[in-house]
Symmetry: C2
Subunit: 329 residues, 2 copies
DNA sequence: ATGAAAGCGCTAACAG
DNA sequence: CTGTTAGCGCTTTCAT
């Protein structure tokens, strides 16, 4: 920066200002500085800026998996909402493991983010303590934890599934199974399964048709395998709710391979409103948790909190939407 | 850190050492320091460490889209290979736009990464200049550019498609169409389309059955729409290659909706070996570019280069694999 | 194995 | 609109 200042004939401080958005530098001076910088191949050093200004413009985000359209949508909505203010996302993934999440949170906090967004509301004790003491806004998403650490933008996974159970029951189906949610690593999956069980019981129905599908992320293949076991062991099942659209689609393909008519003999529903559910034949009933909205509203919340709008914490509920398609009609 | 030092009864320098992996601190001192840090809720400040040591332990990575299983696999393989050495990925996405890529590269370089990995081999002139002058290892991936900036870990998208054309021709099919690759934002898509045209011409076949599918990322829906137009306008087409498995699957569903037998009346192939192609009915022929290997080999290359193993640049070719399934048999 | 002094490259704070 | 001074919290370097 000193070199650029020398070439442009100004002080380093003026160069520093020229690189900021709204700093007061005359247009002529600024363009001369930027030209000098370009000529010299100077690249602004954010590490020094971060230290001195005590601002990094990072927003830390943890998601269970990179390769998941739902979480990708949330991150995308978040990123979109933050980039106008120059905030950049520092992303890490936990592989659906809260111990991995703990390690990740520690690493992320070392980078001194302005805020931290975590997926889910269940954490190790130490992770929780670190978040509580971080001194920055904390936002839990994709859940509605009973004791939030800070802010929340999410929904109840259990309640969302209840709507689908009600839909099946209203159609007169009673022998309903649930695929997935058995490994307690994926807290959203287990919550959905718990919601299924509670909803079935409240209807006075048998809630024991639970088919394990392995550790998350549940693949399409695992959904297909689970459906195979279901058809083998409980062939009188009338409807299936899968922990995600991906496993639901896998289950559908297994029905196709075995010549089981969907929805004639068996209804299927998923979760997440992934594109595949809308386009496959027949299209899948699902629950749309509005992942992009979660991201967008989280971004808006962060901007508001960083602008100093009060210190109270908000709980923003993004209502999941029951989406009924041909697979359950 | 000074506070921790005081509580632990040592100098800040010793605290600093206690937080490093292989620093020479007695075990007793180290554990006393770590306990003091935990008690005080101290979190190591990476921004200061970065500035003083001139090391960030960041590896910058640009990918076209977060929500893409192929790129997610590459990032995952990369991340896996880097984390043992404490290197963290700083990820940004370009939305398939080289101008967005230019902006992103500038932002990423300001964070002073140890190396930078970009997806693709085509860049704006300014982006290319920034990468050349960055003074860190540069790795282009998912392509085989004629004039690499630095290292390369990738494959020829055009050559990969040739293998699929040859497969169809060997089966006696001659009226072959290509879906996608029309928007020049996605250089990998256009390269695949160009490879299709070249391969068809080298067989003396008509290479004009090109169906546009819109701007990337091409959705399943766009694949289905493209297939609809193809069936409407060129109903005698015998085989279709789509720019990705996702659009190929969309195309397949359109055939299902119209009662067009696949592969009886029409063969379909995709690109990418996404899970959906392996499980849908019928399963899709595809080209597997081994995305995780690209990431893993990129990670290994970075570690080797950072360890100072010579200054020569490597071009590592990861061979795509033709995967023939029922959709083209 | 531990400590003292100096400084990484920028910007807050103040001045003009 | 521009400049001066000091210092962000670590770690390099050199000691012992």
């Amino acid at each position: 920066m000193a070199d650029v200042a020398r070439v442009a004939g100004v002080s380093p401080m003026t160069v520093s200002r020229a690189f900021k958005r709204d700093a007061s530098v005359s247009e002529a001076t600024r363009s001369a500085i930027l030209r000098a910088a370009e000529d010299l191949g100077y690249v602004f050093d954010a590490t020094a800026s971060n230290l001195r200004s005590q601002r990094t413009d990072f927003v830390a985000v943890t998601i269970p998996s990179l390769n998941n359209a739902n979480f990708a949508e949330t991150v995308s909505g978040l990123s979109e909402g933050l980039k106008d203010r120059g905030l950049q996302i520092l992303l890490g993934y936990t592989n659906y493991d809260i111990h991995e999440e703990e390690r990740l949170i520690e690493q992320l906090l070392r980078r001194r983010p302005e805020a931290i967004v975590v997926t889910g509301g269940r954490h190790t004790d130490r992770a929780r303590r670190m978040l509580e003491n971080a001194g920055i806004p904390v936002i839990e998403t994709w859940d509605l934890p009973p004791h939030p650490i800070g802010h929340v933008v999410g929904f109840s996974n259990a309640a969302a599934v209840r709507g689908m159970v009600d839909h099946f029951v209203a159609r007169g189906l009673t022998r309903i199974a649930f695929i997935g949610g058995d490994a307690d690593r994926d807290t959203r999956g287990t919550d959905r399964r718990a919601g299924f069980i509670a909803a079935m019981q409240s209807h006075g129905l048998d809630a024991t048709r639970l088919i394990a599908a392995g550790i998350p992320p549940i693949s399409m293949r695992e959904g297909a395998d689970a459906m195979g076991r279901l058809l083998d062991t409980l062939p009188d099942t009338q409807a299936v709710i899968a922990v995600s659209d991906l496993s639901a689609f896998g289950a559908l393909t297994e029905c196709q391979r075995r010549g089981v008519d969907v929805p004639g003999r068996l209804s299927i529903a998923g979760f997440g409103d992934y594109e595949i559910g809308a386009i496959c034949v027949p299209p899948l009933s699902t629950i749309n948790p509005h992942p992009r909205d979660i991201g967008a509203r989280t971004a808006a919340l962060i901007l508001q909190v960083l602008a100093g709008d009060g210190t109270q914490t908000s709980v923003i509920e993004v209502q999941p939407e029951l989406t009924i398609r041909q697979s359950s009609l």
